[in-house]
């Protein structure tokens, strides 16, 4: 702002600070709770300043899990979540960039039909097709496995569509120049299309990693053994019964741990993410 109006500044800042507090306070409470003992948490009022149980709580959840709800260590759950989120993110990017490449650069019979059939599946989120998907996964014998966690969620109409839109902004002349230069479709894909799609891939990776990490219903349905739990499911399993019987300090520590990887991905890839969403230079 060029003008100097102190009241407006004050007002604007007040709104922003309120917003930050509203978002940050629950996070702070979670963090504080994860550093207290069980007794400290259930005593009203709960302290709002971190206690001395940080190391103890986190070591316990990471190595041996909670005592009452689920006994799988959170480190295993984190690993499961990571495998799932990474396979979904990478798998979706690989599959959709290839299918978008086929749809944009090749003339084959039924091209429009295939594009539209991919596009139509946008209307069918996981929840809608979850029962048939479960049946298919059961028949394939991939229930309760890493493959089962990731594979059924890999096909992505959204990502295919995004890549298609991006490819259509690449000038045709570039493909023609490559043809005259002697590059076949695969060389063109590797040497030209892939490098140009880098930022888009990065942006999609961030979105899809979080999407995969936050999956709840599907892992809940197909994981049976504790060693296959993702961390999101783990939290749910730890909340076993009534308020008093839940080990809130451990649950909160797990929640903090579950929060870290997506936050890290966003922070580390922020620059790429923004670039991928706004980049127009071809």
């Amino acid at each position: 702002m060029v003008e100097n109006r102190p009241y407006r500044d004050f007002f604007a800042h007040a709104v922003l600070v309120t917003g930050v507090l509203l978002v940050a306070f629950p996070l702070w409470v979670t963090f504080v709770a994860s550093t207290l003992t069980f007794e400290q948490i259930v005593n009203v009022p709960m302290p709002l300043w971190p206690g001395d149980q940080f190391l103890h709580n986190y070591t316990q959840v990471l190595t041996s899990g909670s005592e009452k709800g689920s006994s799988a260590p959170v480190s295993t759950m984190l690993f499961n979540s990571l495998v799932m989120a990474l396979s979904i993110a990478i798998g979706k990017i690989v599959i959709s960039i290839l299918s978008a490449f086929a749809i944009v650069y090749f003339r084959f019979p039924g091209r429009q039909f295939f594009f539209w059939s991919v596009f139509v599946t946008l209307m069918l989120p996981v929840e809608v097709r979850i029962i048939p998907t479960f049946k298919v996964a059961a028949d394939l014998g991939i229930l309760d496995s890493h493959v089962g966690l990731a594979l059924p969620l890999i096909a992505s109409a959204t990502a295919t569509f995004l890549f298609r839109q991006f490819f259509m902004t690449i000038p045709d002349e570039l493909a023609e120049a490559a043809r005259i230069d002697g590059a076949g479709p695969i060389r063109f894909f590797i040497d030209v299309v892939l490098p140009l799609s880098k930022t888009h891939m990065a942006a999609l990776f961030v979105i899809l990693f979080i999407y995969g990490w936050n999956q709840y219903l599907w892992p809940l349905l197909i994981t049976a053994s504790e060693s296959m739990y993702t961390v999101v499911i783990g939290i749910k399993r730890m909340i076993a019964g009534g308020d008093a019987s839940n080990e809130w300090h451990l649950i909160m520590a797990t929640a903090m741990l579950a929060l870290m990887p997506p936050a890290l991905v966003v922070v580390l890839m922020q620059k790429w993410f923004v670039k991928g969403l706004v980049e127009t230079e071809k």
């Binding site: 000038p171 002349e173 570039l174 023609e176 120049a177 490559a178 043809r179 005259i180 230069d181 002697g182 590059a183 060389r187 040497d191 030209v192 490098p195 140009l196 230079e281 071809k282």
Partner: protein, 355 residues
């Protein structure tokens, strides 16, 4: 180096025929410009030579061999595009070397060719830059460099200067001329700009609505246009046209003005005749006949000469006149057509009436 020829080539998109039966021969080492208004099909012809489009009928030959079924990369041609089509993520060097790498040339051979092209085009200091760090003219030079390093049988230019500003366009035009003098490679150049066509071409091909209207050296086309379209398209400002009626041995242009028909075309002229006169072919003031009176509406002073927009019998004529003899706007001027400089066209067919 190679001769390029088209034999009875047509091109249809669906049911629409955009190129009608065309025969063109481009000699070895020649610089041929295809010129025509946008949408006339000139780029389609070029793309058929490049192999980016296939001819619906007929035969395309490069160096005497039929290439209809040959992939672009095997036709031994190089193409320069209007929007440069440089690979944005590669350096200038890599852009030029890419095609050679695919062809698996030896590293030092690639290096030598790229350095040579960079030398010719004065791109030496920019070899490590990305295309986005270059100006439009430099980018177009890189695109030409990419063509040169291939050492192809022919260069195909698809409106390469249209994205540049006027000053650069003039400069690049000269560079392309110089380049062709040095390399002597057969070149086919597509443009809608008749000035580019006039200045660059050994021979030009004027295309209109998918039909080749005329093929010839620039001055030959300028002096002897084969049709109304060519006459109007080539030359700037364009030729003045007046609709006339045949009366005896002359053409009546209204206002009592009758232009006599030359004896050798009297037999061919029908009822409707269009008379064309280039702006520089008027004699102003004294002398010449038949004389007629023009009313000067607007004057464009260009220095060496001036363009008068003058009304005659409901038509506006453009007259080029010596700069220091310019009459003021609003005045009247007596003028005549220089002897032998009137062009006669058959109005219904648009064809030139010639002996």
């Amino acid at each position: 180096m190679a001769e390029i020829s088209l034999h009875g080539v047509t091109k249809s998109f669906g049911k629409t025929e955009v190129i009608h039966k065309t025969d063109i021969t481009i000699n070895d080492g020649e610089f041929v410009v295809m010129v025509g208004p946008s949408g006339c099909g000139k780029s389609t012809v070029l793309r058929m030579i490049a192999g980016l489009e296939t001819a619906t009928e007929g035969e395309v030959r490069i160096a005497g061999k039929r290439v209809n079924e040959v992939e672009p990369k095997d036709r031994n041609i190089a193409m320069v595009f209007q929007n440069y089509a440089l690979y944005p993520h590669m350096s200038v060097y890599d852009n030029m070397a890419y095609g050679l790498k695919i062809r698996k040339l030896a590293k030092d051979d690639i290096e030598r060719r790229v350095q040579r092209a960079a030398g010719i085009l004065e791109l030496g200091p920019y070899l490590q830059r990305k295309p986005r760090e270059l100006s439009g003219g430099q980018r177009q030079r890189v695109a030409m460099g990419r063509a040169i390093v291939r050492e192809p049988a022919a260069f195909l230019f698809d409106e390469p200067l249209s994205n540049l500003d006027a000053k650069l366009r003039v400069q690049m035009r000269l560079e392309i001329q110089k380049l062709h003098r040095e390399l002597r490679t057969t070149s086919v150049y597509v443009t809608h700009d008749q000035v580019e066509a006039m200045t660059l071409a050994n021979r030009m091909i004027v295309i209109n609505a998918g039909v080749v209207e005329q093929i010839g050296a620039p001055l030959e086309v300028y002096d002897n246009p084969a049709s109304l379209f060519v006459a109007g398209f080539i030359g700037s400002p364009s030729m003045n046209f007046l609709q006339g009626k045949r009366v005896g041995d002359g053409v009546e242009l209204g206002g009592g003005l009758v232009i006599p028909l030359p004896p050798e075309i009297r037999d061919k002229a029908g009822e409707q005749v269009t008379v064309g006169v280039r702006p520089e072919h008027f004699v102003a003031g004294e002398g010449g006949s038949p004389r007629f009176r023009l009313h000067v509406d607007t004057v464009e002073c260009l220095g060496a000469d001036s363009l008068l927009h003058a009304a005659f019998n409901g038509n506006v004529l453009v007259v080029r006149i010596e700069g220091h003899a310019t009459p003021p706007a609003g005045s009247s001027l007596d003028a005549a057509i220089m002897p032998g400089k009137a062009y006669f066209f058959d109005t219904p067919t648009g064809k030139r009436l010639a002996a």
